[in-house]
Symmetry: C2
Subunit: 353 residues, 2 copies
Amino acid sequence: MINNGYYTHEFHGDYELVGVGALDLEEGGSIPDCRLAVATFGELSEAKDNAILITSWYSGTHQIWRDAYVGAGHALDPERYFIVAVDQIGSGLSTSPHNADGANAPLTMSKFPRVRIGDDVVAQERLLREHFGIEQLQLVVGGSMGAQQTYEWAVRFPDKVLRAAPIAGTAKNTPHDFLIAEYCRESIMSDPGWNGGEYQSNEDAEAGLKRQAHVWALTGFSSEFWKQEVWRALEFDSKEAFVEGFLEPYFTAMDPNDLLTQAWKWQRGDVSRHTDGDLAAALGRITAKTFVMPIDEDVLFPPRDCEPEQRLIKNSELRVVEDIAGHLGLFSLTPTFMTQIDRHLGELLATSN
Amino acid sequence: MINNGYYTHEFHGDYELVGVGALDLEEGGSIPDCRLAVATFGELSEAKDNAILITSWYSGTHQIWRDAYVGAGHALDPERYFIVAVDQIGSGLSTSPHNADGANAPLTMSKFPRVRIGDDVVAQERLLREHFGIEQLQLVVGGSMGAQQTYEWAVRFPDKVLRAAPIAGTAKNTPHDFLIAEYCRESIMSDPGWNGGEYQSNEDAEAGLKRQAHVWALTGFSSEFWKQEVWRALEFDSKEAFVEGFLEPYFTAMDPNDLLTQAWKWQRGDVSRHTDGDLAAALGRITAKTFVMPIDEDVLFPPRDCEPEQRLIKNSELRVVEDIAGHLGLFSLTPTFMTQIDRHLGELLATSN
């Protein structure tokens, strides 16, 4: 294990580390002492029937949800709901390669096992049930890899998910996304400083982390984002300054092995693992009222990848979010993003499912 | 200079190296003995009025045009036209970093100067006039960086270009394309074996060349190409086998510095350099009958980047080519690509301009 100041309360505010015990993994092996970083907002009702679960995306944590998505005036309103944001395994806050210590010490760094979306969802379900006593969720919502977890929840625990909102993500990862994640991984692993996962500091692989940031420059934003110079509204003077001042520092602060754990997991997100590869059968299990919410300019998860999945979900609607930024519009970069999210999530929460 | 067996007649068939003398460059300096690789097809008429010029794209040469685009039954028919395919400076066949010798020896490897699209077009015009006696072209046609040269021809020498067909490219490079080319460059330059451009063999930078190939995997094809597994028709068993068997060997055979010269040039293609940045004024100079031919699934040069340019050209039409492969559909990967190219070019050549 190594110390990395980014994965602290200083940068991520209030959250609690909650142990869910030993977690057996789909790929084999187990995490002896699986701990999940959990941030909550609002109060759980006595009937424990007002809970919402937020799942985290690649490189992300509860922090962006707390800052942009949750609060008074938002659909995700802590005055009405008990909102539980859980950071994924490998996120750097929950059990991850760089922080594996104590009983998890045998899993540190390059020895960390492969984790799947299903492992996260099993751990989250246990957390909600055992730690909070929550048996049913008003809503599961997440973006990107968080959408993968959302789909997994709705397929694996249909009785527990009343509503689902997968944003900018797919139930079955596409080959193009697999390749994008593969070259994120390659960017990091090709840095000699990564050293097979046995570095002393994330700074040892800074060059690789920067190259990984550049994969996101190419795919995370739409070409229109660059052409229309949307970065100007974010107070940068040039596209180069935006890459160097926004994308690069965002990723160079992070742990290389943690990102690799997430990327491997992202590549293999696929709810049809429950049904021998039959995606229609898997999505047919969903009983949640589901709003499938792709972003129109998303290169990674374009509407044409999301709509065919939506059509396989009985009680669903396609709600396309218009955002020039593309996938990383998830960071609420434009003034019109969150109003759409709030409208769709508000309408979803108002349904009687 | 270093030897690279890829840039030989064995791999590129018949071509002639034609000297055009000293070429002063827009960025300063000059190439003392600029040589252009030229492949011709058909016979020049006595009136020298049946010539077509083909320009080359990034990493490409006359070879792909000879194999896929030119021949009996194609619009580019050597029975009717004298077709001159000229490989760009930095292509590895024409004067390039890796082959700079003789009078060009001071420009070898890392000392090669920066070359712009305009430099190529000036050299090509001189070649056609001095070597062949050609003063006017029935058509200039090229894809991608070849489209940049096509636009440059039509703006710089409007009286010499009767018809123009820029395929899958833009008159003014977009910021997204700039970034894609930038990360192609970074992929190569981040390989320690590149050694600041002073390697002994292209194999020294093989890892970087492979990473550069992967940038093309992410952007050169559409996501639908991957989802629909179009590579199966190219007789590969998996997307990984396709990347390893098609994209990687294509690029690892090439010279790193040559690719860098081309990428730098690509980044800065912009006909509005002639008109103080006024793109409408530059494109307004074009008198050629012009078919602007984007590929519908092209990530690099999507129709929405090409159509606004087309609308600025007086005597022009937008002819969108439908191809699931995206940009690298230029390699004629699908059975329907070339029939569209031939139809559009045939109709263009039939116009009376």
